[in-house]
């Protein structure tokens, strides 16, 4: 960036109030795209089960279809966690939990459990004492991140973190208790299903959810946050990998989500175009590389 550009970006026109005003224009709508994705991927997943059990398609084909459909399972829940599925409509808030939980069944996770932990991740991003995602994000290799993301339930450091939150915040504890019951129910269902359809459960449910959880740990956590410090304008980076944005669920622009979590995922490209000067002025990690126009290109 040249000195004159720097002067422009640091001018009073780029005030924090103006940044908030621009961001607010992208908030508040119902993200219907995520509701469509949630039900479509869940329908495809159920259909694959039916087609495999009736021997209409082979198990290996079902595995690959399930792998792809399961990769779409998390984002609708994530949108629900931030209230994007109800937008500004208070009477529709139940949609966030309902759709979020349906969407997470292929990932065998509780929406409420993920929600309370994700809110702590947003509040304390990159803090080793308080960010539940810290231990699979701040690791040296992709391999380590892909493995550690599976140990969140058994990592003593995370257990201690959660216990501390429970001691301080009764509402957090209630959510953890409720979420754990849902989680237990889903895992028990998985066990019963495995008893009757063992290989199908392994290849259509367990393996896809393990592979996709690793993928989520890498693309949603490690790449945007690894090695960065604490702070709203410094905890997430804009990154590129040469792949079309669609294949990464647009996590290259996760920086926008951490800056304004209330902006819907599908509105982030337009929001990042509008807020790019502010991001550059604040020297946010990778902001200099953000293109003026965001399309479905690899952002290279």
């Amino acid at each position: 960036m040249t000195d004159s550009q720097m002067y422009y970006y640091q001018s009073s026109e780029l005030s924090h109030d103006q940044e908030k005003e621009i961001a607010r224009a992208f908030m508040g709508r119902i993200e219907w795209e995520m509701i469509v994705i949630a039900f479509t991927q869940f329908f495809v997943w159920c259909l694959v089960w039916y087609l495999v059990i009736t021997s209409t398609i082979p198990l290996w084909l079902g595995f690959f279809i399930s792998l792809i459909s399961t990769s779409f399972a998390y984002l609708p829940s994530h949108a629900g966690q931030h209230g994007h599925l109800s937008g500004n409509h208070k009477n529709l808030e139940w949609v966030n939990s309902f759709v979020g939980q349906i969407s997470l069944i292929p990932l065998a996770r509780s929406h409420e459990l993920l929600k309370v932990l994700h809110m702590k991740h947003h509040a304390h991003t990159n803090d080793p004492e308080k960010d539940p995602d810290y231990f699979h994000t701040h690791v040296d290799s992709w391999f380590e991140a892909a493995l550690r993301v599976h140990n969140q339930g058994s990592d003593e450091r995370i257990e201690k973190m959660v216990n501390d939150y429970c001691d301080k915040d009764p509402e957090f504890k209630k959510s953890i208790d409720r979420g754990s019951m849902v989680q237990l129910f889903i895992v028990l269902t998985q066990m019963v299903t495995a008893f009757f359809f063992p290989l199908e459960t392994l290849f259509l449910w367990w393996l896809p959810l393990k592979i996709i959880t690793s993928y989520l740990g890498l693309v949603f956590s490690r790449e945007p946050h690894n090695g960065l410090e604490i702070g709203r304008h410094s905890d997430t980076r804009f990154w590129r990998n040469g792949l079309p944005r669609f294949l990464n669920h647009s996590m290259q622009i996760h920086i926008m989500h951490h800056m304004y979590p209330k902006i819907c995922h599908h509105d982030e490209p337009k929001a990042i175009e509008a807020l790019r000067p502010f991001m550059i002025a604040k020297n946010m990690p990778g902001a200099d590389d953000i293109p003026e126009k965001i399309s479905f290109n690899p952002l290279t």
Partner: protein, 72 residues
């Protein structure tokens, strides 16, 4: 009251720790059993079924000991 709730929490904790063994016993026992039948088509199915569920149980014990939360 506090002592009671602490005892209840201890019991829940023990159940949680052993749940991984139960999961491995049922889930992986069933998977090992199905895989054995698929690959070897054994004549004595009962023996292989017992062996498969035993393998699942031992895998669960190992997972509990090693704290392999990833198996669930």
């Amino acid at each position: 009251m506090n002592e009671k709730s602490s005892k209840t929490e201890d019991k829940i904790s023990i159940i949680e720790q052993w749940f991984i063994v139960l999961f491995a016993f049922v889930f992986f026992g069933s998977v090992f059993n199905a895989a054995t039948i698929y690959f070897f088509e054994p004549k004595n199915e009962l023996f292989f079924t017992v062996a498969s569920y035993l393998a699942g149980f031992l895998f669960g014990l190992l997972a509990k000991y090693k704290k392999w939360g990833w198996i669930v």
